[in-house]
C-alpha cells in the first residue's frame, strides 16, 4: 500500500504547528498503525529529518498511551481498539490519512502528536482511590461479599485505560466518560462507600477546574472508547453527584 499522510507537526507547546504531507510506500496491510509510523520515522531519520513524535508504550491495547486522531476519529476508524491495535488493512492503497493529536484545551500539545494528559492524573488524585490499611494487617478484599452483577459492572468500569479518546471524540471535550468510569468502579463496591461522597464531588470539581467541557450526551465517547465504557457510567456518576451534593 502507498499512502499520503497529513501529520500535525508542532515543535513544542508554544509553536503554532500545522499539517505536513508525507508519502509512505510499501506499507503492509498486516502492520499496525504505529508500525506504519515507525516505518515513516525510520525513513525520516535516514533523510536526517526530525521524526514524528507520538505516544506509545505497551502496544497491546492496555496502557492507554497511544492516542492519535486518525481520519477524524480517536484511534482511527476501527471499533474497540487503541491505535496500536489498529491495522493498516482498515485503509486502502492510495488513501490520504489525517493524523492529528487529541484536541482539548485540557490536553495541550507537547510536541507533534504527543499531548499532556496529566489533567487525568490530577482528577485521579482528587478522589480516584480508596484508603486501605497496607501496614501488614490488610483485610482480604474477598472476605467482603459482593453481588455478582455489581462486581462485573465495577470490573467493566475499571477497564478504562484513561487514554482520553472520550475527550478527543466529544465535541465539547468533556471528560465525563473517563471520570464516571473511575467513580463507578468504586461506587459499585463496598470498599468504595466510605469515601463515596467526597470522591465524586472532588473528582468532578477537579474535572471542571481542568477546563474540560460539559457533557451533552451525544454518545460519541461511548462509540469511540477502545474499552467499550458505557454511558451508564455517566448516568451513575450524575446520580452519585446529586446524592453527594444533597448530603453536603
Amino acid at each position: 500500500m502507498n499512502l499520503t499522510l497529513k501529520i500535525w507537526r508542532q515543535k513544542n507547546k508554544n509553536d503554532k504547528g500545522g499539517l505536513v504531507d508525507y508519502k509512505v510506500t510499501d506499507v503492509s496491510p498486516d502492520m499496525s498503525f504505529l508500525e506504519m509510523l515507525d516505518v515513516l520515522n525510520e525513513d525520516l531519520i535516514n533523510k536526517d529529518e526530525e521524526p514524528v513524535a507520538f505516544d506509545h508504550d505497551c502496544r497491546e491495547g492496555i496502557c492507554g498511551m497511544c492516542s492519535l486522531y486518525i481520519n477524524g476519529e480517536a484511534h482511527g476508524p476501527d471499533r474497540g481498539v487503541t491505535t496500536c491495535q489498529l491495522h493498516m488493512r482498515m485503509f486502502k492503497d492510495g488513501d490520504t490519512i489525517y493524523i492529528e493529536p487529541f484536541r482539548a484545551a485540557a490536553f495541550p500539545v507537547i510536541k507533534d502528536l504527543i499531548v499532556d494528559r496529566t489533567s487525568f492524573d490530577r482528577i485521579q488524585h482528587a478522589g480516584g482511590f480508596i484508603s486501605v490499611n497496607t501496614s501488614g494487617n490488610t483485610i482480604d478484599a474477598n472476605t467482603i461479599p459482593v453481588n455478582k452483577h455489581d462486581a462485573d459492572t465495577a470490573f467493566d468500569s475499571a477497564t478504562c485505560i484513561g487514554c482520553g479518546a472520550c475527550v478527543a471524540s466529544c465535541k465539547n471535550s468533556s471528560a465525563m466518560l473517563f471520570v464516571s468510569a473511575k467513580v463507578s468502579q468504586f461506587a459499585l463496591l463496598p470498599q468504595g462507600q466510605i469515601e463515596a461522597t467526597d470522591r465524586v464531588l472532588n473528582m468532578v470539581k477537579q474535572m471542571d477546574e481542568e477546563g474540560f467541557g460539559n457533557c451533552t450526551n451525544t454518545g460519541a465517547c461511548e462509540v469511540e472508547c477502545p474499552k467499550g465504557i458505557s454511558l451508564e457510567n455517566i448516568a451513575r456518576m450524575n446520580r452519585e453527584y446529586l446524592k453527594a451534593s444533597l448530603k453536603g
Partner: protein, 223 residues
C-alpha cells in the same frame, strides 16, 4: 446543595429539569390546540380558562417564562464554555461516525426554535397580554362571542406564517429527537427501561411537532 449549579453536572441537571418542564408544557399545548380541530367551542372554553385562571396566569405562566429563558440562556452559556474547551479544531473530524446530527447541533436547532418562539410570542402571547392586562378586557369576548378560535384561524390565513411555523416545528422535532432521552440521561436515568424510553422519546419527538403542523395546515385550509 451549595454550589451545585457551579458544577458541570449541576448545570446539566438543571438543563434537564427545565427540559422536562418544557416537554410537559408542550404536550398540554398540543392537546389544547388539537381540540381546535374538533370543536371551536371546546377550544374557546379551554383557552378562556387557561387565560383567566389565577393559578395558571400568575403562578404557572411566570414559571414557564422562567423555564424558557433559563433553558435558552443556559444552552448558550454551555455552548460558549464547550467551545472554549477545544481551542484548536480538528482539520478532519468525522462526527457522523459516532453521533447523530441532532445531538451535535442542538445549539442550531435551539436557535431556530428561539426565532420561532419570538415570532409565536409576537403573534399570540403579546396581543393576549395586551388585551387582558393593558386594555383590561378579561372577558375573552369579541362581538358577543369568544374570540380565541377566530383569532387562531385568522393567524393561519397567510401561507408564509404557516410555512414558517412548519419549519419551526421541524427544528423542534430535531431538537426533541436528541433532547428527550438526553434529559433522562442527565438526571441519571439509564437502566433497563432506557431502550423503551428511547422509542417513546422518538415517537414524542415526531408525533407532537407533526401534530402541530397538521393543526396549522388544517386551519389554513379550513378558514
Amino acid at each position: 446543595m451549595s454550589g451545585i449549579l457551579d458544577s458541570s453536572i449541576g448545570r446539566k441537571f438543571a438543563m434537564a429539569l427545565s427540559a422536562f418542564f418544557l416537554m410537559i408544557f408542550l404536550l398540554q399545548h398540543f392537546v389544547i390546540n388539537l381540540t381546535s380541530v374538533f370543536s371551536a367551542d371546546t377550544f374557546n372554553e379551554i383557552s378562556h380558562f387557561m387565560g383567566t385562571f389565577w393559578l395558571i396566569q400568575y403562578v404557572i405562566q411566570p414559571i414557564l417564562i422562567f423555564g424558557v429563558l433559563f433553558h435558552f440562556i443556559m444552552g448558550f452559556v454551555l455552548e460558549i464554555k464547550n467551545r472554549k474547551a477545544r481551542n484548536i479544531s480538528y482539520a478532519k473530524n468525522n462526527g457522523a461516525a459516532n453521533s447523530t446530527w441532532m445531538s451535535r447541533n442542538m445549539i442550531y436547532s435551539g436557535m431556530f426554535i428561539l426565532i420561532f418562539l419570538i415570532i409565536h410570542f409576537i403573534d399570540f402571547w403579546i396581543p393576549e397580554i395586551n388585551t387582558k392586562y393593558i386594555v383590561g378586557d378579561m372577558s375573552g369576548m369579541h362581538d358577543g362571542e369568544f374570540r380565541y378560535f377566530h383569532e387562531l384561524q385568522e393567524k393561519f390565513v397567510p401561507i408564509w406564517r404557516v410555512a414558517l411555523y412548519c419549519v419551526g416545528f421541524v427544528f423542534l422535532a430535531l431538537h426533541l429527537m436528541h433532547g428527550f432521552n438526553s434529559a433522562f440521561q442527565s438526571v441519571g436515568a439509564n437502566n433497563k427501561y432506557t431502550k423503551g424510553l428511547k422509542g417513546f422519546g422518538m415517537a414524542y419527538a415526531i408525533i407532537l411537532p407533526l401534530g402541530f403542523i397538521v393543526i396549522a395546515l388544517f386551519h389554513h385550509f379550513n378558514h
